[in-house]
Symmetry: C2
Subunit: 213 residues, 2 copies
């Protein structure tokens, strides 16, 4: 019984996935998701959290179960049933030393190599789930820093949905949500003029229930 983690990040305007070279037989050296076995004294989600902490150093992160995978021959060695979890993290929070230590790296989704066993299918499923949910749940903020510009936010949606969005329409919709708050801060890194930084207010969202892209 194991867990496998589909870790999504967002960087350079693209959706990225964390994959590594498999460190054990069978399949040693193949590209694969990061995973681990479930201990007797922990639940499934707990195991996924522990595994992800091992990998990223982060304690809390957005995590969602993608599903269980249990084909008889999915692992050529012994029978392993695995539960896939999808995590969304902010790439900047990631300790880059850990990348080498764990032999993992970020790849763009459109450059993803074939993965070990059924891992590619897990990624497909996770991406489908993400695409479905992004329109009705405030997931995008997990992929961004606490403070972000509207352009960054829009790029996240575009990367996940795979289509371009009209800037004015997008901003109009965002302004309608009071839980996305404009701050006084200005980001001058990406543009000469400077862009207002926004923040997602979790508490304000809790009260409010409706959300639609």
């Amino acid at each position: 019984m194991s867990v496998d983690c589909i870790v999504f990040g967002f960087d350079e305007g693209k959706l990225k996935l964390l994959i590594g070279r498999r460190q054990m037989d069978p399949g040693r050296g193949e590209w694969s998701l990061y995973g681990g076995f479930v201990r007797d004294d922990e639940g499934l989600e707990e195991a996924a959290h522990r595994t992800l902490q091992e990998l990223t150093g982060l304690k809390k992160m957005y995590l969602k179960q993608v599903g269980a995978f249990g084909a008889i021959d999915r692992d050529p060695g012994e029978r392993v049933i695995t539960v896939a979890y999808c995590a969304l993290i902010n790439v900047k929070d990631y300790d880059s030393r850990l990348l080498e230590e764990h032999q993992v790296k970020w790849v763009s989704l459109d450059e993803m190599p074939t993965l070990y066993s059924d891992h590619s299918e897990m990624v497909r499923k996770a991406l489908n789930l993400l695409r479905r949910r992004i329109a009705t749940e405030p997931l995008s903020f997990n992929l961004l820093p606490d403070l972000f510009t509207l352009t960054q936010l829009q790029k996240v949606y575009e990367a996940i949905l795979g289509s371009e969005i009209d800037k004015r329409n997008f901003r109009k919709r965002i302004k309608a949500f009071d839980f996305i708050e404009k701050t006084e801060l200005i980001d001058k890194l990406t543009s000469k003029r400077g862009a207002a930084l926004y923040r997602f207010n979790k508490k304000a969202y809790g009260a409010d229930t409706t959300f639609k892209l």
Copy 2:
């Protein structure tokens, strides 16, 4: 490792769930979902199909994974990780002798008793899944006979979504789908005037991809 089945049916204008008295310890006698253990020589979905065939006698049915449940103490005895599957069946196909044999019965969702362990949560999750998907996938037909009236179809949507739908608007939308075909047959059981029977054309649907309520 086990599978548990959330079996939905539709009868008397209501969404029904198949539950039974648990036949083994711990929890013997409590209301629970029907489940079974996963054998070494079968995949997860295969196990769910086998379990459901045992229960209903049906070989093929709509089946969808709801998720894995693996809290440490979810089973008071030994540790059991289970994968929940949601099945949609036509109540009329069900052999009612099997009801007694397996000690199961249909209950309306609004009269559902508290179920064993985390089974109530599984039902909640399955219902959520169903509500989300019913709008974009042609699931409702699995709950009806091959031939059905538009009123029946509408009742299925109303039962699942929990809200009333305007008859004229509903029928307008249905007519826009060419994979829902009107037949020459008339159902005279439920009304004096008689209602046209319709059929879901799976092949016509395959070609067509879009579906929106």
